[in-house]
């Protein structure tokens, strides 16, 4: 055996070498195909809806035709009602989600790093987290009033639960083998946190934040439906009270679209920040 070392060609995994353009094209094609598959069901529902309203199987007052809902959407956009209400809603989510995420990360990290803290807090946390946003609203109205702080608290709680649970799990699931490596190289607490705990728990933190934002958006709609005079949820209640089902359906479309947009953008961020997680291509 010679002392010079040469790696066999087979020793070098294919993905290290540059991707060929044909591979790239294949991947884009696959992605496009996925989007097409995802659109099949919504398009079928839209078709059924169109046929139903065209034949007036259901009264147009109860199920307005797609064209009317589209018209309402454009009117909402042109009058500025959509933008102003959406802006209020987004601000509420941003505040509530921000507070919930910060508290959730701290709470989850504390419980994850200390069994004692977990023993003290986790059962209570678990019990309180079972109560849905709806259950908190009457109590919170009595304590902090019906203003913005109540809404932000409800949204914050909704975001807090998944963020806390996933942070806790993420830290708990770090393989003890990694901690041993840190011990062998005599890492201090700061190094252990910065070099091992945070990066190892990051995928789980991301999952928590993603769920947190989705839950925050859902809680927003609930809280605005029940106790608000502005915002996208209020627009929906307003439509229902006026028996303008086109307005209700238009807000349903907007809420769904924004929710999807939020989730997709976070997923995109996740794949970009956690490139090392790609196990195989």
């Amino acid at each position: 055996m010679s002392t010079a070392i040469t790696l066999n060609q087979s020793d070098i995994p294919a993905e290290v070498s540059a991707k060929r353009p044909s591979q790239w094209r294949q991947k884009t094609g696959q992605k496009l195909q996925q989007i097409l598959w995802a659109l099949v069901l919504p398009l079928l529902v839209l078709g059924l809806w169109q046929i139903t309203s065209a034949h007036e199987w259901v009264s147009p007052q109860i199920l307005p035709p797609p064209s009317l809902v589209w018209q309402t959407l454009t009117e909402l956009w042109q009058s500025g009602d959509l933008t102003s209400n959406l802006q209020i809603s987004v601000e509420r989510v941003a505040y509530g989600f921000g507070v919930g995420t910060v508290v959730g990360l701290l709470l989850g990290a504390l419980m994850g790093l200390s069994k004692t803290v977990e023993a003290y807090l986790f059962p209570t946390f678990k019990a309180l987290s079972q109560i849905p946003a709806l259950g908190w609203i009457p109590l919170l109205i009595m304590v902090v009033g019906i203003g913005e702080s109540m809404k932000i608290l409800v949204i914050a709680k909704a975001a807090l639960v998944p963020v806390t649970v996933n942070t806790l799990q993420g830290i708990r699931n770090i393989p003890p083998q990694f901690a041993e490596v840190a011990k062998v190289y005599r890492f201090n607490t700061r190094q252990l946190l910065a070099k091992v705990v945070i990066p190892a728990a990051l995928p789980s933190l991301f999952t928590g934040i993603r769920y947190g934002l989705t839950h925050a958006w859902l809680a927003l709609v609930t809280v605005e439906l029940l106790a608000s005079s502005e915002g996208i949820g209020f627009l929906m209640v307003w439509g229902r009270q006026l028996f303008q089902l086109d307005l209700v359906l238009a807000t349903v479309v907007i809420i769904g679209a924004v929710g999807l947009l939020i989730d997709q953008s976070l997923q995109w961020l996740e794949t970009h920040f956690l490139k090392w997680r790609r196990v195989a291509f």
Binding site: M1, T3, I5, T6, L7, D11, P13, E15, V16, Q177, F178, E180, V181, K183, V184, Y185, R186, F187, N188, Q191, K195, V196, P199, A200, L202, L274, K275, W276, R277, R278, V279, A280
Partner: protein, 272 residues
Amino acid sequence: MSALGTLDFKNVKKQYHVKGETLDVLDGINLHIKPGEFVSIVGSSGCGKSTLLRLAIGLDDDYQGDILLDGARIKGTSLKRGIVFQEHRLFPWLTVEQNVGLALENSTLSSNERAKTIAEHLELVGLKGFEKAYPYQLSGGMSQRVAIARGLVNRPEILLLDEPFGALDALTRANLQNELQRIWQTEGITMILVTHDVEEAVLLGDRVVIMEPRPGRIKRTVEVDVPHPRQRADLRLAAIKDDVLSEFGHEHDTALQPAAEGFGFKDYLFAW
């Protein structure tokens, strides 16, 4: 220059306490390892050979007797003692060079010197050009090369190897055994290799320490008086291998085969 890297085990005894019962894992271990020596430790599963390394690296302080490095009783982990685990234990979120750099987190080197020594050690293990690769892009053998570079980069006095090639395929393993022999000769540091592969133990070791289980004891020590670099096909090695295998008697058919090292309850307890 006074040679550093002398490791002494003096009457080392280790017990585990499981459900109120006391299990003797190691008993009466006495072993003197000279600076720059390569010592192989072989034994069937559950003979406490990996436990012995865990004590020597300092991940477990709960034992009786003394383990001395250059005359001083070891306490906790130390940058003077490096280890390569059976699994590579690379951090998947770090590149190859960052993983090797982990070992230098607490070194006194300047960042320039660090970069230089990392590059040198990656070259030593034959991974020049893979500095920026992530662990998911590496094969098992390449990952273990990175782990060896990480174990060596802070220039420990002694490197402990805990079945480092146990999970690799036969060809990669043979290749890395030759590499390790070359690296040991280049670096000149003390190495202790724990393995269940007798051929590997004999090929690499100046001495082969044979352990027997329940409780883990040293059964016999065999000198391998063949100069390095050694050829795998050397007849003298084959004779010594047969000698070592004879110590396992009828056992060697089953207990020494890697495939027979199933993951029973005991393996979880005593492995790493």
